[in-house]
Structure formats: structure tokens, C-alpha cells
């Protein structure tokens, strides 16, 4: 599903690479934690998957497509198969829950009938039934993140990328967020989650890929955060 082959990324004006000869494979339906300290290359990894950045060397395949050979004009179609969730939610403050989720479908030109059918289903899936007409500022942080997840998932992407989705949320609420991610993963969606949150990683017992200074230092199939030793 996601295949990195010897990928190196150096940002302009920086001499140290953000990713240094990284090779990794994520299969369809997998749940992968991407861990490591700030600046270790987690976000760069996610940005490369979205083709928001290009690698300096190496090959990236996402959903069977070679990103180097994917024309700019087809990048939007790649992104339609990838959902994204961020630490800062990125909701539209002047739209309510339903409209925020529907926005993702409107802007890719889905018909209104389809949107009316699908959006309530996804709002229910993330556990926000009955709150569809709340505005974002009337919701707690955890609820806002659920809206963001609904928006990321509403188009049934093959891959869900989550960049520290629990970073702004207290530990108790985080469990609920992880349950939603797990539910999404069980529908067959590949989930890649970058995080600092050791407790969550330890409790989930999923594959863990650890980055440090742009290099993969660990790849365990049922791992823990691993700062203990």
C-alpha cells in the first residue's frame, strides 16, 4: 500500500536530511505507529506520501502508483484515496459538523444525494450522532478531532494518515479517538499514525516504526513506544 525504497529528503537551506535512505513497506489494512522525537522525520514521511513534497532520491509507491511518475494533474486523485487527520483538527469554523464533513465531498464534486446519504453514516461512525448541527467551537477537543476523522474517512480512503491526532487531547479522551481509528482500520483502511504518545502506542500493540534523525532505527510488528530501556 505504501512502499518507500531508499528514500532521502533534504529540505532546501538545510544540510541534514529529514529522511535518510528510508526503506519501509506498509501493507494493505495495516495499522502502523510512526514514533520518534520531534524533527526525526515523521511529518516528512507523511508529506511524501501525499506528494506534498518530492524526495531527493529513492522511489515511493502509494496505492500502486509510482509518485515520481504521477503528474501534478493527477495528484488530487491520489489524495482522494488518502484521508488526513492533524493535531490541530483544521475544521472550518463557520461550518457545522455536517457541513465540515460534507465539504470534503462537495469539493470533489460528489452529487448532493450521495452526500446526504453518506455524511450521517460517517458522523455516526465517529460517535457524533445527534451533534451534526453543532458548530466546531461548541465541541470539545476530542469531539472536534472526531469531526476531522469523519471528514478524512467520508470518502472511504484506502489510507488514513494521522499526524499526532491526540497531541492536543487529554489521555482519557485520546482512548476514544484511538477506538475510532481502530474502527476505521477494521474496515480495511490502512492507518499510519505519527505520535509521541507512549501510553497509546503501548496499549495498542500494533506495528511500530521508530525514526531518529531521519533513519529507521526500529521496526517491530507488535511493538511498544520503547523509551523504557
Amino acid at each position: 500500500m505504501i512502499h518507500f525504497d531508499n528514500v532521502t529528503k533534504v529540505y532546501a537551506n538545510q544540510n541534514r536530511p529529514a529522511l535518510d535512505h528510508v526503506s519501509v513497506d506498509v501493507d494493505k489494512g495495516e495499522f502502523v505507529f510512526l514514533v520518534g522525537p520531534s524533527g526525526s522525520g515523521k511529518s516528512t514521511f507523511l508529506r511524501l506520501v501525499l506528494k506534498e513534497e518530492r524526495p531527493n532520491s529513492g522511489a515511493i509507491h502509494v496505492a500502486g502508483k509510482d509518485l515520481a511518475r504521477l503528474s501534478n494533474f493527477k495528484v488530487p486523485h491520489l489524495r482522494r484515496r488518502i484521508g488526513c487527520v492533524f493535531q490541530d483538527f483544521r475544521l472550518l469554523p463557520n461550518k457545522n459538523v455536517y457541513e465540515n464533513v460534507a465539504f470534503a465531498l462537495e469539493v470533489i464534486g460528489k452529487p448532493r444525494r450521495f452526500i446526504r446519504k453518506v455524511v450521517p453514516e460517517v458522523v455516526e461512525l465517529v460517535g457524533l450522532e445527534g451533534k451534526a448541527h453543532r458548530m466546531p467551537d461548541e465541541l470539545s477537543g476530542g469531539e472536534q478531532q472526531r469531526v476531522a476523522m469523519a471528514r478524512a474517512f467520508v470518502n472511504r480512503p484506502m489510507i488514513l494518515l494521522a499526524d499526532e491526532p491526540t497531541g492536543n487531547i487529554d489521555p482519557a479522551t485520546s482512548i476514544g479517538i484511538m477506538k475510532v481509528l481502530d474502527r476505521i482500520n477494521r474496515t480495511g483502511t490502512t492507518v499510519v499514525m505519527a505520535t509521541h504518545d507512549a501510553a497509546i502506542v503501548d496499549s495498542m500493540r500494533k506495528r511500530v516504526v521508530e525514526l531518529e534523525d531521519g533513519k529507521i532505527v526500529r521496526d517491530q510488528s507488535r511493538g511498544v513506544y520503547g523509551q523504557a530501556y
Binding site: R80, R90, A104, V107, G109, R151, N155
Partner: protein, 302 residues
């Protein structure tokens, strides 16, 4: 493609940047109106010069009994012998194509035709006031100097009028007006481009959240850019409509009254005006679209 979604985005964008939008509309309207006036002057000059090209002639007006001209002072009206001699002299000149004698009745008729729209002027002038004249058609209108000089000094000639010189003076004035209008139009177009650029930039900044999300969920570039370009297009279109109104106003107030005042003989028609309006509106809208696209490339990463 969801048309009403795009339009609601456009409407929000235009309202958020209301002051900038108004500035764009006003600038485009004035710029296009001036461009249109330049084109209208062009059309007027063009139709006039084709109207006059086979009609320009030298007119040698002859002395009447009480002519105020210096050449007629101290003598009565032109005598019959002088007329015959003049006709012979003119016909002998190599530059002359043909010459016709215009008596007072004929002159009065022509005068009536030319000033038919000015009844006050008409009623004040009588047949006896009209001078007799020789109308000289030259082989080449630019070759008037020798004929002009010879006739000016001839006995019985009050004064000589060269249509070509009058027309040249008039065309010169029109050309200067046109150039002035076009120069100001160019400056306005330049200002419009900068203003549109700024508006799009503001708009892109205001809507950076929306566009960021649109990029993430895989909206096509067209879908992301269209609202911005439409904002520019609508502003350009409204500016174009206002300039059309200004141009119609200019046609009625300036060109039609100028035609009456100068007895220009040709009138700027509404179909000329319609052509000019179509052209200026298209130019206005195209400028807006282009300016939007160019700025979008810089400020909206897709």
C-alpha cells in the same frame, strides 16, 4: 462539478473583500470606458476620412459687393470678365482635376443641407449672403500648394479654403484626444491588474483554511482555483457593464452633439458603439481572468 457550491464560494469571497472588489470594478470601468472612447474616436475619424476622401476640394470664394476680406477692399463684387479669366486660369493648371462654379443659389442649398440640424443658424442666413465660388477638385489633395497660392493672389478672389487643411486640423485634434484616452486607459489597465492581483492575494489569504482542506481531500486544481478566477471575472464583467453605460452616455452626450456642432457629416452609429462595447467588455474580463490566474500561481500552491 457543483455549480451552486462554486457560486456560493464566489459570493462569500466577493463580500469579504467588498472594498477591494469595488476598487477593481471602478478601475476596470474607467479603464475600459477610456479604451472605448479611444476606439470610438478611431471609428469616427475612420468613417469621416472615408467620407471626405473623394470630396476634399479647394474652394475659391469670390468677392461679393460688401465682402469684408482684405482682397476685396476698395472694389465692388467680382466682374464677369474676372470670373471667366479665373475659370480659364484654374483649368489650365496641371494639378487640377476639374473645376465647378457654384452660384449663390447652389451655395445656399449646400449650406442648408450641411446645417439642417441647426435651425437658428439657417434662419439667420439668406441667399444673398452666400458667396459665389469656384470648387476645385485636385488630382492629389496633398498637392494643393501651387493652386492655393495662385488663387489666393488672383483678382476677384476673396479667400481660398482648403478642405484638406481643415480636415487635417480636425483629425489632428481627434488623434491627440484618442492618444490621450488610450494612454490613460493603459494606466488604468495597469492599475486594474495590480488591484486584481491584490484582491486575489487577500482572497487567497482569507480562504487559506478552505483551500488547504480542499487540497488535502483531493479537490482538483480547477475546483480550487475557479472561485478565485470567478471573483475576478465577475468584477471585470460588472466593470465592463458600467463602462458600457459610460460609453453609451459618451455617444449621446459627446459624439452626437459634436456631430451637430461641427456638422461632421458622418455620425457614429449604434452598431459602432455596440462593437466597441463588446470589445472593451471582452478585454476587461480577459484582463481580470489573466491577472487572477497569474496571481493564483504565486499565492495559491496547489
Amino acid at each position: 462539478m457543483r455549480a451552486n457550491f462554486i457560486f456560493s464560494e464566489v459570493w462569500i469571497g466577493l463580500r469579504r473583500n467588498l472594498t477591494m472588489t469595488i476598487a477593481v470594478i471602478v478601475t476596470v470601468a474607467i479603464g475600459m470606458a477610456l479604451l472605448g472612447i479611444g476606439l470610438m474616436i478611431n471609428a469616427q475619424v475612420g468613417s469621416m476620412s472615408s467620407y471626405w476622401s473623394d470630396k476634399v476640394q479647394l474652394s475659391a470664394f469670390l468677392c461679393a459687393k460688401n465682402s469684408p476680406f482684405d482682397a476685396c477692399k476698395g472694389r465692388g463684387g467680382v466682374s464677369q470678365q474676372e470670373k471667366v479669366a479665373l475659370q480659364k486660369q484654374i483649368e489650365a493648371m496641371p494639378q487640377v482635376d476639374r473645376v465647378t462654379f457654384e452660384n449663390q443659389e447652389k451655395a445656399y442649398e449646400n449650406f442648408k443641407a450641411a446645417y439642417s440640424s441647426n435651425s437658428v443658424f439657417l434662419s439667420a442666413v439668406k441667399v444673398e449672403d452666400m458667396p459665389e465660388s469656384f470648387r476645385v477638385k485636385l488630382k492629389n489633395p496633398d498637392d494643393y500648394k501651387a493652386v492655393f497660392d495662385a488663387l489666393s493672389g488672383a483678382a476677384g478672389v476673396a479667400n481660398v479654403v482648403n478642405d484638406q487643411q481643415l480636415l487635417d486640423r480636425f483629425f489632428g485634434l481627434m488623434n491627440r484626444l484618442r492618444s490621450a484616452a488610450l494612454v490613460v486607459a493603459l494606466i488604468q489597465v495597469f492599475a486594474a491588474i495590480l488591484l486584481i492581483g491584490n484582491t486575489v492575494r487577500l482572497s487567497a489569504y482569507n480562504r487559506r483554511r478552505e483551500t488547504g482542506i480542499m487540497r488535502l481531500v483531493g479537490a482538483s486544481n480547477l475546483y480550487i482555483q475557479l472561485p478565485f478566477v470567478m471573483e475576478g471575472t465577475i468584477a471585470g464583467l460588472v466593470g465592463g457593464v458600467i463602462s458600457a453605460v459610460l460609453l453609451m452616455f459618451a455617444k449621446i452626450v459627446i459624439f452626437d452633439s459634436m456631430q451637430k456642432f461641427f456638422a461632421l457629416a458622418t455620425q457614429l452609429t449604434w452598431s459602432d458603439v455596440a462593437q466597441v462595447i463588446t470589445l472593451t467588455t471582452v478585454v476587461g474580463v480577459l484582463i481580470c481572468i489573466l491577472a487572477s490566474f497569474v496571481t493564483l500561481r504565486r499565492y495559491l500552491r496547489v
